[in-house]
C-alpha cells in the first residue's frame, strides 16, 4: 500500500466520519455583536441558543462567537462557521446584513437567519421583534412618570429599528402628557458601558427624569440609580436587579421559540427563506413586570394598551400622525404598513432635532 493510497483512505474515512456526524447532528451557529454577559441584547440571544440546546439535546450542536464587529470581520466569522459545517447560522445584529448576504452566496447549502435586517435571499431569512410595540407601553408609562417633562433617550445608530422606537415612545408619551419633550443622544455604539453611563448622566444633568435606552448594557440603569429620582426601563432583557427603582418596567426579547422552530425546520428539511416580524401577540416581545413605583392607574392603562396591541386591536402607529416637517403621514384611523415601518427614516411631528444621515 503506498502512502498516497493510505492517505486517500484516511481522508475518505474521515470524510465519511464527518458526514456521518453531520447527519445526526444539526449544527447551529450564532454570531453576537456584544458579549454574552452584557445583560441585554446579546444575553437574550444566547438564552435562545441555550433553549435550542435544551430542546433538542444531542440532536444539535450550537456554537457562538461573541464581540464580533459589524463589517468585514463578521464575514470572516460567518465563513469560518460555514466551513466548520454549520447548517444554520443566526447573525444577530443589524450591521451584519451585507456580510450575511455575501457569505450566504458562497454557501448555498447553509441556511442563514439575519436579525433586524431587510435583505433576504434563497438561503437567507430575516426576523425581528416589533420592539416598537413595547416602546408604546414604555412611552405611556414614561409620559405619566416624568415630573420635569423631559425624557432622555440614549439611541445607538440611526437605523429604522431605533427610529421606530423613538417615534413610538414619543407618540405615546405625548398622548398622555402633551408637554413632554424628548432629548435624544446618539451614542454610535451598541455596547460601551462607560459611554452609555456618560450619556445617561448628561441627560440627567440636563433635566431628564426618565431615561429610555436603545443600547445594550445596564450602565444607564446604574447611572439613574446613583442619581436617585430617575426612572428607567430594562432594555432587551428584564434587568430586574434594578427594580423597583430605577427600572420600572422592561421590554424583553424572547427569541427561544423562533430559534427552536427554525432549527426544527432545518432538521425536517422544510426551511424556507422567511420574513418574520413578531411582536407582543406571538410572544417575541415581552413586557417585564411594572413595579409598584408606578401608580396603579398608570399600570392598568399600560397593561390595557399591552392587551390591545397583543390582540391586534390597536396599532402603535395609528393616524392622525404627521411627519416632523409637518407633512401628513397617516390619516385619521389609518395605520402604518410594514414596508414604511421597516424603512422608517423620519421623526414624527413634535420631536426636536435631526436624525443623523
Amino acid at each position: 500500500m503506498t502512502i498516497t493510497k493510505l492517505l486517500a483512505g484516511a481522508a475518505l474515512a474521515l470524510g465519511l466520519a464527518t458526514s456521518a456526524v453531520a447527519q445526526d447532528k444539526t449544527k447551529v451557529g450564532f454570531v453576537y455583536v456584544g458579549p454574552v454577559g452584557d445583560g441585554g441584547w446579546t444575553y437574550e440571544h444566547d438564552q435562545g441558543r441555550l433553549a435550542v440546546e435544551a430542546h433538542f439535546g444531542d440532536k444539535v450542536e450550537t456554537t457562538y462567537v461573541e464581540n464580533v464587529p459589524e463589517g468585514a470581520d463578521a464575514e470572516r466569522v460567518m465563513t469560518q462557521m460555514a466551513l466548520q459545517g454549520a447548517n444554520l447560522i443566526f447573525t444577530t445584529s443589524f450591521g451584519y446584513m451585507d456580510p450575511t448576504i455575501n457569505v450566504a452566496k458562497k454557501f448555498p447549502n447553509v441556511k442563514f437567519e439575519h436579525a433586524t435586517g431587510y435583505k433576504t435571499a434563497e438561503n437567507v431569512g430575516v426576523y425581528s421583534a416589533r420592539f416598537y410595540e413595547g416602546r408604546a407601553i414604555q412611552g405611556t408609562i414614561a409620559g405619566h412618570m416624568t415630573q420635569s417633562n423631559v425624557i432622555g433617550y440614549i439611541a445607538s445608530f440611526p437605523i429604522p429599528e431605533v427610529i421606530r422606537g423613538i417615534n413610538s415612545a414619543y407618540i405615546h408619551a405625548k398622548k398622555v402628557n402633551p408637554d413632554v419633550q424628548f432629548k435624544i443622544v446618539w451614542a454610535y455604539t451598541w455596547f460601551d458601558p462607560a459611554k452609555e453611563a456618560d450619556a445617561a448622566k448628561v441627560l440627567i444633568e440636563q433635566g431628564a427624569d426618565v431615561i429610555l435606552q436603545h443600547t445594550d448594557s445596564k450602565a444607564p440603569q446604574a447611572a439613574a440609580q446613583a442619581a436617585g429620582n430617575v426612572y428607567t426601563f430594562g432594555q432587551a432583557s428584564d434587568m430586574a436587579e434594578f427594580s423597583p427603582m430605577p427600572r420600572i418596567s422592561s421590554i424583553i426579547d424572547n427569541w427561544a421559540p423562533y430559534y427552536i422552530a427554525r432549527t426544527q425546520a432545518v432538521m425536517d428539511g422544510t426551511w424556507e427563506s422567511d420574513n418574520t416580524w413578531d411582536g407582543i401577540g406571538p410572544g417575541m416581545v415581552g413586557i417585564g413586570e411594572i413595579t409598584d413605583v408606578v401608580p396603579a392607574e398608570v399600570k392598568a392603562e399600560a397593561l390595557a394598551l399591552k392587551d390591545a396591541i397583543a390582540k391586534g386591536e390597536y396599532h402603535p402607529f395609528t393616524g392622525p400622525l404627521n411627519k416632523q416637517d409637518g407633512s401628513p403621514w397617516l390619516a385619521d384611523g389609518e395605520t402604518a404598513d410594514d414596508g414604511t415601518l421597516a424603512g422608517m427614516n423620519f421623526y414624527v411631528e413634535g420631536i426636536e432635532g435631526e436624525i443623523p444621515q
Partner: protein, 306 residues
C-alpha cells in the same frame, strides 16, 4: 437649541471623571515606553483590573481594598508579558496583543459570578470650605479620591523622570539599552519593574470604570479605553503633562459632545461623535512639532549578549 441647559460646572466636573481611566492607564504606559518597552496589552490589563477591583470590592465591601486588588491584578497580568518579552525574548507587539486577548477572556471568566451585582460606593471627598466654593467647589473639590490620585500620579511620574536618579536610569534604559547595560544597569530588571508599574496603573484605570464611572461589572466593559490610552502616550510625545492634557481634552470633548447633542445643537451628530478623537489628535500633533521623539530602544529586544 437650548445651551442654557448645559451647566458648565457639571460639565467640567464630569470631564475630570471621564478622563481619569485613560489618564491613569496612559501614565503607566508612558513609564513602560520610556523604559523602552511597547506593551500593547493595556486594554487587557485594564479589563483584568476592572474585574479584580470589582470582585474584591464585592467580597470585602471596601473600594479601597478593591483598587489595591485591581493594581495587583493588572501587575500580575503584566508580569506574564514581562516574562514573555524580557526573558523569552518574544516579539513585543505580538505579546502585547496576545495579552489583550487573554485579559479579555480571563476577565469574563473571573466575572461570571459578578454580573448584576452592585459594588460599595466610593464616596466623593468633601473638603470643608473648598468644596463649598461656588463653581470651583463643584468642578475641582468634590470628586472621589481617584481623580486626585490620577493628578498626583502625573506629577509624581514627571518629577521622578525629570529630577531623580531612578528616572535618569529608566530613561537611559529606554534610550539605549546596550549603553545602559555597558554602564552596569540591570536592563531587564528595570524593564520588568516598569512593566509591572504600567500593569498596576492600567488595572487602576480599569477599576475606575467598573467601580466609579459605571459602576457595575459587564464583560468587555472597557470597550477600547486601553487603546485610547496607548494612542495618547504616542500623541503626547511621551511627556507626562501632555498625557494629562490629552486625557482631559478627550474626556472633555466626549462629555461636551453628549451635552451638545442633548441640548439639540444643530451640528450633525457624526461630527460631534468623531470630535473627541479629532481634536485630541490635532492638538497633540501640533504640540509635538518640537523635536520630541520616541525613546531610542522602544520595542527592541534586549539580550545581554548583544
Amino acid at each position: 437649541m437650548d445651551l442654557s441647559a448645559i451647566s458648565p460646572a457639571l460639565l467640567l466636573a464630569s470631564l475630570m471623571v471621564a478622563a481619569t481611566p485613560i489618564l491613569i492607564a496612559g501614565i503607566g504606559e508612558l513609564v513602560v515606553e520610556r523604559a523602552g518597552v511597547l506593551n500593547l496589552g493595556v486594554e487587557g490589563m485594564m479589563i483584568t483590573g476592572a474585574i479584580c477591583g470589582f470582585a474584591i470590592t464585592i467580597e470585602t465591601g471596601s473600594p479601597a481594598v478593591g483598587f489595591v486588588a485591581a493594581a495587583v491584578g493588572g501587575a500580575l497580568l503584566s508580569l506574564l508579558f514581562a516574562i514573555l518579552t524580557q526573558f523569552a525574548l518574544a516579539n513585543q507587539v505580538a505579546s502585547g496583543l496576545a495579552l489583550t486577548l487573554f485579559g479579555l477572556g480571563l476577565s469574563s471568566l473571573l466575572g461570571q459570578e459578578y454580573v448584576g451585582l452592585k459594588p460599595a460606593q466610593t464616596p466623593d471627598l468633601h473638603i470643608p470650605l473648598l468644596s463649598d466654593l461656588p463653581f470651583l467647589g463643584t468642578v475641582l473639590f468634590s470628586h472621589d479620591v481617584m481623580v486626585y490620585f490620577g493628578l498626583a500620579l502625573v506629577a509624581a511620574v514627571w518629577a521622578v523622570l525629570k529630577y531623580t536618579r531612578v528616572g535618569l536610569v529608566l530613561r537611559a534604559v529606554g534610550e539605549n539599552h546596550d549603553a545602559a547595560h555597558a554602564l552596569g544597569y540591570k536592563v531587564v530588571r528595570i524593564r520588568v519593574l516598569a512593566i509591572m508599574f504600567g500593569g498596576a496603573c492600567a488595572g487602576l484605570g480599569g477599576a475606575y470604570i467598573s467601580l466609579i464611572r459605571v459602576p457595575q461589572w459587564t464583560e468587555g466593559m472597557t470597550a477600547g479605553a486601553g487603546w485610547i490610552a496607548l494612542a495618547l502616550v504616542v500623541f503626547a510625545s511621551w511627556k507626562p503633562w501632555r498625557v494629562l492634557l490629552g486625557a482631559y481634552l478627550f474626556g472633555g470633548v466626549t462629555v461636551l459632545q453628549l451635552n451638545l447633542q442633548a441640548a439639540g445643537l444643530a451640528i450633525p451628530v457624526e461630527y460631534l461623535s468623531m470630535s473627541p478623537y479629532l481634536i485630541t489628535i490635532l492638538v497633540l500633533v501640533i504640540m509635538s512639532a518640537d523635536r520630541s521623539r520616541a525613546p531610542g530602544s522602544l520595542g527592541r529586544v534586549f539580550h545581554a549578549s548583544g
